[in-house]
Amino acid sequence: MKGYLGEFEELVLLTIANLGDGAYGLALLRDINERTNRNLSLGAMHSTLTRLEEKGFITSYLGEPTNERGGRRKRYFELTDNAIVALNDMKSLRDQLWSNPKIDLSL
């Protein structure tokens, strides 16, 4: 496992998994901005995507040209096995912590 997975990176990876075939830059940005009520820029979004790609958590491919974007293609993102393992590790770590009977986090 290379690289440490940050909070935002984890969020992006999960969103990619949620969007499935439709996971391209703008769709991810909109989804995250909506869910988390943040106001991220496209630059920040793509920077994170680039870093994730470098760390080997995602791969990307260009889609077919679409009319609504003036013939420009979308870049779609997919999770790699590494990412799936990392997300599972993360989740089990959290589950472990949450499952402790002594925990008292009731709102």
Partner: protein
């Protein structure tokens, strides 16, 4: 497509694309466009646009774009210029050059000629800027300059009051050493019976403490300590003493005897220029100066100080201000300011008078460079023209390059690299031209031997940078031209939007080139005419067949008698100074009790006037012999009388008094003739008869075998005194020597005109080949339709004839004004001016050379077979 208003801001897209430098950002722009369309529909267009710009900047500063740019730099497709690509361009250029040999030759020769003058200027500039860089503590050495502000205006002098040297060392501890140098000391040393003149300085004892001039013999601390000490440079020591040890030898001069205390290496790469250094104590001992005199005149006196390392500028300024206020006490109504100039900045300066040594200033350097550029710029434009003339041949190559993906920048780089390769080849040629030209040039300028213009690495790198700059500049226009070609047209064999005719700028350029050539060539003619004139013209005396023999220590009367006995010698007279060469002997005349008038005086012997065929307008020269103790009989020229008439004179206008009290009576008046060279004003002149003051015997010789006569005269001479050297020269040769500056001018102008003409003709060749190449088909069709050879020649040449005509029309009045009214007036005041003959000859010459190059190209096209030309392409 959406309507025009709903486009995202184009500048933002362009900015992003430019920033991304060709990396793939299609998906990013797609994302932005999609968002823009969404917002434009659901919010306002303005908001969408602003948001778009915001997103653009967020991307520009994002890691995503940075990363993509970085990876694009290593990808297979890359539109910038890599090292490998540039190597490929160099290879292509070399192949192209060897394929088009005429084009290469014409351009290399043109640029090599054009660059040679600039190289000369550059090498001299490098030498000047490196002057005095070799002194170990150069940073702490300063020359003190004087800034004067008085009723005549403000001026800066390199010289200053000599007494401040002692003042500064005594009162200001940060001044370690100070040296006072006094220039303009030109004594004649008497060695082995002959006297040789040298130029040197008086310098105080710390000279060798401040400067690092290496002493070959003698102790730096003491060589200049005692009065009448002298330090010779190595070459002077050799001239005077050959292989003997010079130390301790005495040198007799008119200013007293000097003892040689040291020998130094010849000064090199320094702003000082001297043959020897005499101890300043000699001078101060001779003239025991009062304080008023110490602070009085400062011309030709220089002070250098060496301060402690890291002395603040402020304390130096303060010290100089205090000393300057002392000086102001002796100069009422004058504001004096002293400035310290670091040794490295002494040459070149902008506007400083009374410089010591070589004294190169910036204006003359700039002038030199502008002459160089005047020659170089036409060569650069020729290259431009010729490159574009080849467009037909190369446009297909460019078309294919562009089709397979070359960007505009790459095509531009290709042509600039190609030009740089060409200028580099031209640089090699130019250096070959520059080396002999430099030798010739340095021979002509004053104090050239202290300048170090040898080829060092600084000079080489300056040359290389200059050559690359020339290449960049020359290649810029062709590069832009080729990069803008549209591959769709060029591959079809057309040049879109290219006019076949010669455009306006090119015409102007062409006229300019020929104008410059004509001005130079008329200059050569004009100066050559002056030269012929001064050599053949009678200055107002007869200089033919006159032998000049310096007396040296010979008994004059005996020598005259013995020489006169030779059958070939028609007459003998003597003179203190030779006619036709510049005079230096001045004397003060007192026309009345208050005024003085400075006039030249010449000592002459008996029959001088008759022998040299001078014309008297009044009186007779025979009365000169009648001088007695009370009254000396003299001859004067007309301008002497003119100058005297200004003053309120005594009753007897033929009588005047010299400053030393000698009473003179005018017994004859000569015409105003040029006793001095023709570039000098005719000044008031008196002739005094004195054998004792005469330096030369003037022998009018009439001989069939001059060599034999000379050797016989030498034998006679040695029978009188074997120790005195016999050195006879012809007066004509002595006069010719006085005009060596004109020979230098002729050389320079000939060289420049050869350059200018060659470059213009190369340019003409290029222009003609450009037009004829473009009109090959037209000429073929004309021939088929029945045009004669003559009409074709006329058709092809008429444009050029007109252009040469225009340049001649501009050049003739300009040359007349420039040469006749300005240049020649200063060169030879009493010369014949610019004649019509030189102008006509120059124009005919230029036309002939021009037509030859036009004819060469046109005849090729006009005589070719039309059927082949029509089949071509």
């Amino acid at each position: 497509m959406k309507t025009q208003q709903q486009h995202p801001p184009q500048f933002a897209v362009k900015l992003l694309r430019w920033w991304a430098k060709g990396s793939d950002i299609e998906d990013l722009i797609g994302d932005m466009d999609e968002e823009f369309a969404y917002r434009a529909e659901n919010e306002s267009l303005l908001k969408a646009r602003l948001f778009y710009i915001y997103q653009t900047f967020s991307l520009i500063f994002s890691y995503a774009v940075k990363r993509r740019k970085a990876s694009a730099a290593y990808s297979d497709y890359y539109s910038a210029n890599t090292g490998a690509m540039i190597m490929s361009y160099v290879k292509i250029s070399v192949r192209n050059f060897s394929k088009h040999k005429l084009f290469t030759l014409v351009n290399v020769v043109g640029l090599a000629l054009g660059m040679s003058v600039c190289l000369l200027a550059l090498s001299i500039a490098v030498a000047i800027y490196q002057t005095d860089e070799w002194h170990a503590r150069k940073a702490d050495i300063y020359q003190i300059n004087t800034f004067i502000d008085d009723q005549y205006g403000t001026r800066t002098f390199a010289s200053t009051f000599p007494t401040i040297a002692d003042k500064l060392t005594a009162d200001y501890p940060f001044v370690e050493e100070a040296v006072a140098v006094r220039s303009e000391f030109s004594p004649a040393f008497l060695v082995n019976g002959s006297s040789i003149s040298f130029d040197g300085y008086y310098a105080s004892r710390s000279f060798f403490e401040i400067f690092d001039f290496p002493l070959l013999q003698g102790d730096p601390g003491t060589v200049l300590r005692d009065p009448n000490s002298i330090v010779l440079t190595q070459s002077v020591a050799y001239t005077l003493f050959r292989d003997e040890d010079p130390i301790g030898k005495m040198l007799e001069t008119a200013e007293g005897a000097f003892q040689v205390t040291g020998v130094m290496a010849d000064p090199r790469s320094t702003h000082l220029y001297f043959d020897f250094l005499a101890s300043a104590s000699t001078y101060t001992q001779q003239a025991d100066l009062t304080s008023t005199q110490q602070w009085g005149p400062f011309m030709d006196n220089y002070v250098y100080i060496r301060v402690r390392p890291n002395t603040p500028q402020a304390s130096m300024k303060e010290a100089l201000a205090q000393v300057a206020s002392l000086a102001e006490e002796y100069h009422p109504d004058t504001s004096i300011e002293l400035q310290a100039t670091n040794l490295g900045d002494v040459v070149p300066q902008w506007n400083v008078s009374n410089n010591i040594g070589i004294g190169w200033d910036l204006p003359s350097l700039y002038f030199f460079f502008s002459i160089g550029l005047l020659i170089l710029v036409p060569a650069i434009f020729n290259y431009t023209n010729l490159s574009i003339a080849r467009a037909l041949k190369r446009s297909k190559e460019i078309g294919i390059r562009k089709v397979v993906g070359a960007g505009t920048g790459q095509v531009k780089t290709q042509f600039i690299v190609e030009t740089m390769v060409l200028t580099f080849i031209a640089l090699l040629g130019s250096v070959l031209i520059y080396l002999p030209v430099k030798e010739q040039f340095l021979d002509m300028i004053y104090a050239a031997e202290v300048m170090d213009t040898s080829m060092g690495w600084i000079q080489l790198s300056v040359f290389l940078i200059f050559c690359l700059l020339v290449g960049w500049f020359a290649g810029l226009f062709p590069a832009r031209f080729f990069a803008s070609l549209n591959p769709v047209y060029t591959l079809k064999g057309q040049l879109s939007g290219q006019k076949v005719s010669v455009s306006g700028i090119k015409k102007g350029l062409f006229v300019f080139q020929f104008f410059v050539s004509l001005v130079f060539i008329i200059g050569v003619g004009a100066i050559a005419k002056q030269y012929a004139y001064v050599l053949n013209n009678n200055h107002g005396f007869n200089s033919d067949n006159v032998l000049v023999v310096p007396f040296e220590r010979m008994d004059k009367q005996v020598a005259i008698n013995e020489l006169r006995a030779h059958p070939d010698v028609k007459a003998v007279t003597t003179a203190g100074q030779l006619p036709g060469v510049p005079l230096s002997n001045e004397v003060k005349v007192l026309p009345n009790t208050q005024d003085t008038l400075e006039v030249n005086q010449v000592y002459i012997g008996e029959e001088f006037v008759e022998q040299l065929g001078m014309t008297l307008v009044w009186g007779s020269a025979t009365q000169l012999n009648e001088s007695n103790q009370n009254e000396e009989k003299v001859l004067v020229n007309q301008s002497f009388l003119k100058s005297m008439s200004v003053f309120d004179q005594q009753s007897d206008s033929l009588q005047f008094t010299l400053a030393d009290g000698t009473q003179c009576r005018i017994v004859g008046i000569t015409e105003d003739f040029n006793y001095e060279p023709l570039d000098r004003l005719i000044r008031p002149l008196i002739f005094r008869q004195s054998l004792a003051q005469s330096q030369y015997a003037l022998l009018t010789v009439n001989s069939s075998d001059i060599q034999l006569t000379m050797s016989e005269l030498e034998d006679i001479w040695h029978t009188i005194d074997t120790n005195v050297h016999f050195e006879a020269t012809f007066l004509d040769d002595e006069i010719e020597k006085a005009y060596s500056f004109i020979r230098a001018q002729i050389k320079i102008f000939s060289y420049l005109s050869v350059l200018a003409i060659s470059i213009s003709c190369l340019g003409l060749l290029g222009m003609v080949s450009y037009t004829t190449e473009n009109r090959t088909k037209e000429i073929a069709i004309r021939k088929i339709m029945g045009a004669t050879m003559n009409s074709l020649y006329f058709l092809l040449t008429k444009d050029f004839i007109r252009l040469i005509g225009i340049s001649a029309m501009i050049a003739i009045p300009f040359s007349y004004l420039f040469y006749d009214k300005l240049f020649l007036y200063f060169l030879i005041r009493y010369g014949p001016g610019l004649g019509i003959q030189e102008v006509v000859v120059s124009i005919i010459f230029l036309f002939a050379v021009g037509f030859a190059s036009i004819f060469w190209q046109t005849s090729k096209v006009a005589s070719s077979n039309p059927s082949e030309n029509l089949r071509y392409e």
